[in-house]
Amino acid sequence: MSLQADIAVRAGTFELDVDVTVGRGEVLAVLGPNGSGKTTLLRAIAGLVPVDHGRIVVDGEVLDDATSDTFVAPEHRPIGVVFQDYLLFDHLSVTENVAFGLRAHGRPKADSRTIADDWLERMGLAEFGRARPNELSGGQAQRVALARALATDPAVLLLDEPLAALDASTRNEVRRDLRRHLATFDGMRLLVTHDPVDAYALADRVAILEGGRVVQTGTIASVTAHPRSRYVADLIGTNLVVGVVADGHLHVDGGASIVVADAVPGASFAMIRPQAITLALTADPTSSARNSWPGTVGEIDRLGDRARVTIDGTLPLTAEVTTAALDALALRPGDAVHATVKATDIVTYPT
């Protein structure tokens, strides 16, 4: 009982080449920046674009296989999709929207409407059956789209950026609702999003998609504990350096060298939390901290009592200090500064 998609899809110069698996009852979030191929992945699984290599299998049934020319048309796949801006049919009432899939499957009209109204009631939208989609709020439209996708009883539910079309004021509430409704569906669920908050709130597991490749998969805790890409590091706001460990040092491509503790020799990531970095106007030879790099202050972002300071130099870093410390040092962009971090504060793990 699973969805397996080990596929490659070409779209112009872009190539998506991924292998994702979603188990029964599992929610997988595919998290990636815009243009990473998230929507292409969903369209391939839904059957809206054929794959160029590989295969898509749901519960043992091959839906698309480039080598054997198997291709199951989207209308015959056991897959429901909630599209990014919901794509409700404006010329139909809300009930007719939810009943659409049942009617397309040949269910009688009265039957379909009864089932659709049951779904609307379950979604807390019983009184909106006769309304037009354009009379609904974003959150309501999303629930209608969800009901419409689930009404035909699919094995797999795909959600494309389910919260991106909403404004910030309603997003949290809609996310909670979505989480509740997703929990009632015991099939395989795959959602794609660029917002890590959605992944945290809705998914059991994440796959990080960058430039058409899955660069990391795992539970959210494991992915954020050991980011393996700049994208994930940026999402959780930490510094990620990649280099080669030898003799207790991590040698970075740009020429910088970092003293690390208990690191396994070989190619390695090093994660340096911005909070672990101290800033000083001069190097302090008496300090126990093994790492101190000169640099210049780039940008300063004040966030309440904290400030994030980017340091340009042989090893570009972001440090997080209190605004009080920042003011005490009177730091301005362009000032020379020393960034210091203890070797024991640096987490290393092999690439």
Partner: protein, 272 residues
């Protein structure tokens, strides 16, 4: 809203306004002339004439049939032009819209030499199926369809291009076949354009003159439509010509008024 509108009006450039009013007069004056010269007293007599009624009824039948043909063939053609990319699509589109810009007489001559009894294709229609189009009522329908269909195609194609194809994708993921999607999603979504295109095509078919008289001739009862009757009457009975003209003006004007709401309705739906 009302304050913006007032602001807009006070900022109207006077020169543009004057030119626009001249344009309005240019369109209005001919119809005023028509109405002024109309022999209102003999309206009842003229419209009661057997020949006028025959021409009117023929026009209604042929123009509606031409509109039906334009819909049946024009909607799939518009879909092909809007959705399927194939080599030479631009040339095919130009070909299909050619009769819209061509002098209708030229269209009639072209029809005559291809579908006439001795024409390139017409000889086989005659020999194999015993079908003769020229100088028949079906010839009128062919001529009208030939000049009217592009209006439907151009309107429907534009609407199909504006339509977000992802709605059709959504329908397919819900289990709808391509044909079901076309009937239940695509066509309803472009309904305003379908109606507008059909009405435009119908109005064009109703007013068709050049291609009809060239291809189908001018036989009362079989091919003499209202515009042909008007032209003929102008030489024998100008009063009759005036009254038939006014009937055509009234019909066309009311169609455009109705169409305006259709178009606005479509625009509203597109904005929502």
């Amino acid at each position: 809203m009302s304050s913006t509108r007032r602001g807009d009006r006070s900022e109207l450039p006077v020169g543009v306004l004057i030119l626009a009013v001249i344009a309005i007069l240019f369109f209005a004056l001919p119809f005023l002339g028509l109405l002024w010269r109309a022999p209102w007293g003999s309206v009842r007599d003229v419209l009661g004439q057997e020949s006028v009624r025959t021409a009117l009824w023929l026009s209604v039948r042929t123009s509606l049939t031409a509109t039906l043909f334009a819909l049946v063939f024009g909607v799939p053609l518009a879909w092909l032009l809007a959705r399927v990319s194939f080599p030479g699509r631009g040339a095919v589109r130009a070909l299909c819209l050619l009769s819209m810009v061509l002098p209708p007489v030229v269209g009639g001559v072209a029809l005559f030499f291809s579908f006439g009894r001795r024409g390139l294709f017409g000889q086989y229609l005659d020999r194999w199926f015993d079908i003769q189009l020229p100088f028949t009522t079906w010839g009128v329908v062919v001529a009208q369809t030939f000049v009217a269909m592009p209006f439907l195609v151009i309107t429907v194609e534009a609407a199909l291009r504006q339509l977000d194809p992802r709605h059709e994708d959504a329908a397919r993921t819900l289990g709808a076949s391509r044909w079901y999607v076309f009937r239940r999603v695509t066509l309803p979504a472009i309904r305003p354009a379908l109606i507008a295109g059909a009405v435009l095509a119908w109005a064009r078919a109703l007013g068709e003159f050049g291609a009809t008289i060239t291809f189908a001739g001018n036989f009362p009862g079989t091919t003499q439509t209202m515009p042909l009757a008007t032209y003929l009457a102008l030489e024998t009975d100008p009063d009759e010509a005036l009254i038939i003209s006014i009937v055509l003006v009234a019909v066309s004007f009311s169609v455009l008024i109705c169409l305006r709401d259709r178009w606005l309705g479509g625009a509203r739906a597109a904005l929502a």
